[in-house]
Structures are given as C-alpha cells and as structure tokens.
C-alpha cells in the first residue's frame, strides 16, 4: 500500500491536485488587506464601485452556461437560458 501511495504521489496529476488544493486554501484564507494589497499592485481598488477587479463577479457577471461540466440536473434551480449580460468580445484569459 505504501509503495502504491509513493507511486501515486509521483504522478503529475496527483502532484497538480495537491498543489492546487494547497494554493486555493491559501487564497481562500487571505485577509482583506492582502486582497487590497494585491489589487494595489495592479493599480486597482476593489472598494470603488465598478472596479475592474470585480469584472466577471460583480456588475458585469459572465453568463452561466449550464451543462459545461456535464448534464444539467433537473433541480439545479437555474433557467437554461442565462439572462446575464454577454461577455465582452475580448474574453479574459482562462489562466
């Protein structure tokens, strides 16, 4: 079993999962000041109404596309036709 665990831990997919888990946990635990500092590095101020930092999550919210991650369950509680604004012509990078 230990041998298998060691083997599994060397697999790139497992390594990526572990790194992503650790990093997203770090980001989720960031303080408000850390968020503001990071935004300030980019000359953004998320406290301002309509700040570009909030693009995609507030104000201009990109549409929900049900089914991207699989079939939509009947009780997801969301209309199949997204009613939010369309994304900009130049779409932000997924990375």
């Amino acid at each position: 079993m230990k041998k298998y665990q060691r083997f599994a831990a060397q697999q790139p997919e497992v390594r990526l999962e572990k790194v992503l888990e650790a990093l997203t946990t770090e980001v989720a635990g960031a303080t408000e000041q850390e968020v503001l500092d990071a935004a300030a590095d980019l000359r953004m101020d998320p406290r301002l109404r309509g700040s570009v930092a909030t693009l995609g999550v507030k104000g201009l919210v990109f549409p929900y596309r049900p089914g991207v991650f699989g079939p939509v369950k009947p009780d997801t509680g969301v209309s199949p036709t997204p009613e939010g604004p369309s994304p900009p012509t130049d779409t932000p990078d997924a990375s």
């Binding site: 997919e13 497992v14 790194v19 770090e26 935004a39 590095d41 507030k58 991650f69 994304p87 997924a94």
Partner: protein
C-alpha cells in the same frame, strides 16, 4: 437569515464587512445544513448574481473566489472558462446539492466545491464523457492528462520563479508533505515558511485579479 449570519460570521472573523443579512429563502444551501432544492423557473439571474443579490457573500469573498476560479480552471478544456467553474459551483450550492459544513467560511466552502467540480471534470476529460463516476482516483496512466498536469504545474511554478523558498515549498506540497516536513527538509524556520506563504498568497491574488485579454 441563517445563511446571512453564516456569511457574516465567516467574513467577520477576518475583520471584513458584509452588507445586509442576506436571505436564506434565496439560497438554502448557503446555510450549514443540506436542504431541499429551489424550484428553477422562477429564479432570475445567474447563480452568482443571485448569491450577490441576496448579499450572502462579501466583495472580498468574491475576489478571493475569482482568483481561485482562475487557478482551478488551469488545464481544463479551452472552452471551459474560470467563470464557468465559479457559476457552476454557485449553481450546485444554491440548488441544495451541497450543504456547507459548520464552521467553514463561505469562500473556503465554494472553493472546495470548485475543486470538486474540477477534479471530476479532469478525470472525465480524456474519457470524453460527462457521466458521473466514482470519486476514487483512477490509477491507470493517461499520458495526455499527465502531460497537461506537468505543463500546468510548470506554469504555476513559473509564477514563483524568482522565489526559491516558495519553489521548495511548492515542491514539498506536491509531494504531499506537511508544513513541518517541508520546513525540516529544507531547514526553514516557521517565520521563513509563513513569510513565503504570504508572498505566495499575494502573487496568486495578483494573478487572479489581473485583467488579461486574449490576442
């Protein structure tokens, strides 16, 4: 109101403010117990807009979640965008499929849901199907996914190319080591480790908030 209180207490712990109390009626599963789904047709707006409108989540939470969505969308199919991940997570939470465990902050909980969606999608990518499968890791080697994982790990590592301490920490995390093991293996003090984590968070948040446009 219970959901609103939960959101408030989660952010209040970090000294942040949430406007209003929110309404559990709008999103049952932001509360900490599993509840019945909301009927769909009467709901207006995207799942994210509904959560924001109900004031269940603070602006700072949204920014942290945006950064995490961008991080987790790495390596997925080109047609999958970071906001797809975020919207899907909110859709599943608002539908009542996911109940927030007691004591877990809202952003950490949504992040966990996004990780789960990503993980499931990742496993299905090479199979070319979207059927629900077991959560057990499939040990069979998949060269396409392995290569993608190597590329994504390299891309993440490049963010910290000028920080050797963070690079070693990342290597340790990828190996599944605990913080104590990483410190002892590399001779880091707790202060060194914590400072590196702080730099790591700032870089990740910066990358998450950065506005990038495709050429």
């Amino acid at each position: 109101m219970a959901a609103g209180r939960c959101a408030q207490s989660a952010t209040a712990a970090r000294g942040e403010t949430v406007r209003g109390g929110g309404s559990a009626a709008h999103s049952p599963s932001m509360s900490q117990t599993k509840s019945s789904p909301v009927p769909g047709p009467s709901v207006i707006g995207t799942p994210l807009e509904r959560a924001v409108a109900a004031e269940l989540i603070s602006d700072m939470d949204l920014l942290r979640l945006k950064a995490n969505a961008k991080l987790l969308a790495r390596g997925l199919a080109p047609e999958v965008q970071w906001w797809d991940l975020l919207q899907e997570a909110f859709a599943r939470v608002l539908s009542g499929h996911r109940g927030r465990p007691p004591g877990v902050p809202v952003d950490a909980f949504i992040t966990g849901v996004m990780r789960s969606i990503r993980s499931q999608y990742w496993r299905q990518m090479s199979r070319g199907c979207h059927e629900s499968e077991t959560d057990i890791f499939d040990p069979s080697p998949d060269p396409e996914r392995a290569l993608l994982a190597v590329q994504e790990l390299a891309a993440i590592t490049r963010l910290f190319a000028d920080d050797p301490v963070v690079m070693r920490i990342l290597d340790g995390l990828a190996d599944g080591l605990t913080p104590d093991e990483i410190c002892s293996a590399n001779g880091f003090s707790k202060t060194t480790y914590d400072s590196a984590r702080k730099r790591m968070r700032r870089t990740l948040l910066r990358e998450g908030l950065r506005m990038e446009f495709r050429p």
